[in-house]
């Protein structure tokens, strides 16, 4: 009996937690969460959503508009676009995450170095971050592609490097804000060692903004990498990657709109969902 009531308590706790999460997210947040869950399933197990083969060519089915058999239509070689979009999630999200990892990883290191290091280092790095803002992300990415050549790996590297200054600058600002705050001063006056102050106060508090920035950042990185793919500088067309699919569809824009619109919608939906959730995180659950 007690087990039953325990289960009941647990169930009500779970339902309350769900309601709490729902309330905190609001309906745009819920829609975003559901969308992201679909994207995650597509990344982890694309066959569950799309059993077809994304690379299977059937020339007689080329340029089919969306229909029950091919919900997103087919491309110039008769490949099923729905399968391609679902299977493309893994490489697009993977590329976005890798670029984000480079940007936010190195950015955080430099930001911490500037925020915690000696004054001259902060002045130097701060100046460099400020100055690098003069180069827009895509411009900086193109600069690196000109140096190392085009390709999927270069576009990860280029977008990663191009986003470093933004993250570094953000983290530097938040670390400096926290360092100047009262509780850090008290801890220091209390004789707490600098390492402990960093680990217990500065790092956790400055990493939280980074979590929301990273959520926003994945969506942005996916969009940037897709932009490079759209410009013909990313993954090569046969592989199912959203940006490369857009580039392939560009030529047929006026005759086969679905080749551009379907992968494009996948990118917009993923980026929008991540943006909504990231903004919620940034405001601590309140509507942004």
């Amino acid at each position: 009996m007690s087990a039953v009531s325990e289960a009941g308590v647990r169930a009500s706790r779970v339902s309350r937690a769900v309601a709490g999460v729902g309330g905190a997210l609001g309906w745009p947040g819920l829609v975003s969460a559901v969308l992201l869950a679909c994207v995650l399933i597509a990344v982890a197990a694309p066959h569950l959503l799309a059993p077809g083969n994304p690379l299977e060519v059937s020339p007689s089915d080329a340029f089919q508009p969306p229909s029950p058999a091919h919900p997103f239509g087919t491309d110039e070689s008769g490949r099923d676009l729905y399968s391609r979009v679902v299977h493309g999630a893994r490489s697009s999200v993977g590329i976005g995450l890798s670029a984000l990892g480079i940007g936010i990883g190195i950015g955080a290191l430099l930001g911490f170095a500037a925020g915690l290091g000696p004054r001259w280092l902060d002045a130097l790095l701060g100046r460099v971050f400020e100055v690098l803002f003069a180069l827009p992300t895509l411009v900086m990415a193109l600069l690196f592609i000109a140096i190392i050549g085009a390709g999927p790996r270069s576009s990860i590297l280029a977008i990663g490097i191009a986003t470093i200054p933004g993250y570094a600058r953000m983290l530097r600002a938040s670390v400096r804000g926290i360092r100047a705050s009262g509780y850090v001063e008290y801890a220091r006056l209390d004789g707490v060692s600098p390492v402990r102050v960093f680990a217990r106060h500065v790092a956790p508090n400055s990493l939280w903004p980074l979590v929301s920035a990273a959520t926003l950042g994945i969506g942005q990185a996916i969009v940037w990498v897709a932009a490079l793919g759209f410009l013909g500088l990313g993954a090569l067309p046969p592989s199912p990657e959203w940006g490369a699919m857009l580039n392939a569809g560009r030529v047929y824009l006026t005759t086969a709109w679905w080749m551009t619109v379907c992968p494009g919608l996948a990118i917009v939906a993923t980026a929008a969902a991540l943006t909504v959730l990231g903004r919620r995180l940034a405001t601590g659950g309140r509507a942004a």
Binding site: G103, R127, V128, V131, L132, F133, A134, L135, P136, T137, L138, V139, L142, L143, I145, A146, I147, I148, G149, A150, A162, T163, P165, G166, Y167, R169, M170, R172, A173, R176, P209, S212, A213, L216, G217, G219, Q220, V223, A226, A227, F230, L231, L233, L246, R250, L253, T254, W257, T260, V261, G264, I267, V268, A271, A272, T275, V276, R279, A282, A288
Partner: protein, 375 residues
């Protein structure tokens, strides 16, 4: 491109910081004749560090390109057309001499620094034309496109904010949440997607506007300008919206209302002015978004311009053109930031006639966070 959206909450924190600095303001009467000399001094103080930044970014670009090119392999590869080059050993040697690549590394580096500083970018590898000529031909169309897009983005953002701030009651509330949703969607829609949809609807569907064009007649400009402007408008509206909500019930707005000012007058003369400052602080971000967007929009609409020049040069690894474009883009950024400093001083009545403080100092940290994760 979905503009790299900085955290809106932090943009607002910047607004709060900027609100605090009005505490010692002397009011608008301070801007007198003697204030003009002080204004000039303040401008100089705002402009000089910006020029320093320009030099620093030129040095960084030249240095990074110089060493990265050599770390990534023989720079001659890029000149001779990449790994698949058909050039014989003799031609390669001739090119090595012609481009000074047989000289000691330090001399090559100093030569590159000197050339970058004096804006001598040399000839394009691919087109065999002076880089300066290419830049001169491609800069004006991009400037036109970006300026129109920025004006449209501000107009859309202000119109949306006005619409959202007027009226109370269920209809107004519905409009407001619809606008908020629209802002989010607009700000995350990448330009390559938005542009493609606009082409499909207005060029392929209705057939009323050209899909591709390099011209500058209104019909040829509408689609590219709208494509470039909408994501920026979405983000500006998002920031404006946030700071307007804050300003609507601020004491200065209530005072104006108590004096009998109409709601639209309060909006235009008081709250908008206050709310525009955080949005203006995003000028650097907006510039990045415009330029990144120009690369995509010019490729999509097959327009001639700086973005297309840069993209094509990056594709064939035409290093002199890339360096030239990047340096010009960095210099333009400096001009934009100076203009936005001046605009901020004009819009913010609390800054009139105050000589002894830098206009951007107190909220710099706020702005730094606001501009957040990259433009």
């Amino acid at each position: 491109m979905g503009p790299a959206a900085p955290g809106p909450a932090r943009a607002r924190r910047g607004a709060t910081a900027s609100g605090r600095r009005g505490a010692t303001a002397s009011g608008r009467g301070g801007a007198t004749a003697s204030g003009r000399g002080r204004t000039a001094r303040r401008l100089a103080r705002a402009i000089l560090p910006r020029l320093g930044s320009a030099l620093l970014v030129m040095w960084l670009t030249a240095t990074v390109v110089f060493f990265a090119l050599r770390a990534a392999g023989d720079p001659l590869d890029a000149i001779m057309g990449g790994p698949g080059s058909q050039a014989g050993p003799e031609a390669t040697e001739r090119a090595r001499e012609a481009y000074g690549l047989d000289r000691p590394l330090l001399l090559q580096y100093l030569a590159q620094l000197w050339n970058t500083a004096t804006l001598q970018f040399g000839d394009s590898y691919a087109r065999k034309q002076p880089v300066m000529d290419l830049l001169a031909a491609n800069l004006p169309p991009t400037l036109l496109l970006a300026t129109l897009a920025l004006v449209l983005a501000w107009a859309l953002a202000v119109a949306g904010a006005l619409l959202a701030s007027l009226g109370r009651g269920p209809v107004a509330r519905l409009t407001r949440s619809a606008l908020a949703g629209l802002e989010t969607v607009a700000s995350v829609t990448p330009q390559f997607f938005l542009g493609a949809v606009l082409i499909l609807v207005f060029a392929t569907g209705f057939g009323i506007l050209p899909a591709t064009s390099s011209g500058s007649s209104p019909a040829q400009l509408i689609l590219p300008v709208v494509t470039l402007a909408v994501p920026i408008a979405g983000y500006l509206a998002h920031v404006l919206h946030g700071s307007l909500d804050e300003a609507r019930d601020a004491p200065f707005a209530t005072t104006a209302r108590a004096r009998g000012a109409s709601e639209s007058r309060v909006f235009l003369r008081h709250t908008l002015r206050h709310a525009a400052l955080p949005a203006l602080a995003l000028s650097g971000w907006a510039y990045g978004s415009l330029l990144s967007g120009a690369v995509v929009v010019e490729a999509l609409f097959a327009r001639q311009g700086l973005g297309r020049l840069l993209q094509e040069a990056a594709t064939v690894r035409d290093v002199p053109v890339v360096i030239g474009s990047v340096v010009i883009i960095a210099l333009l950024y400096v001009v934009i930031m100076i203009v936005s400093d001046v605009l901020e001083a004009v819009i913010d009545p609390r800054l009139h006639g105050q000589a002894d403080r830098r206009p951007d100092e107190p909220n710099r940290a706020g702005v730094a966070v606001a501009e957040g994760a990259g433009a």
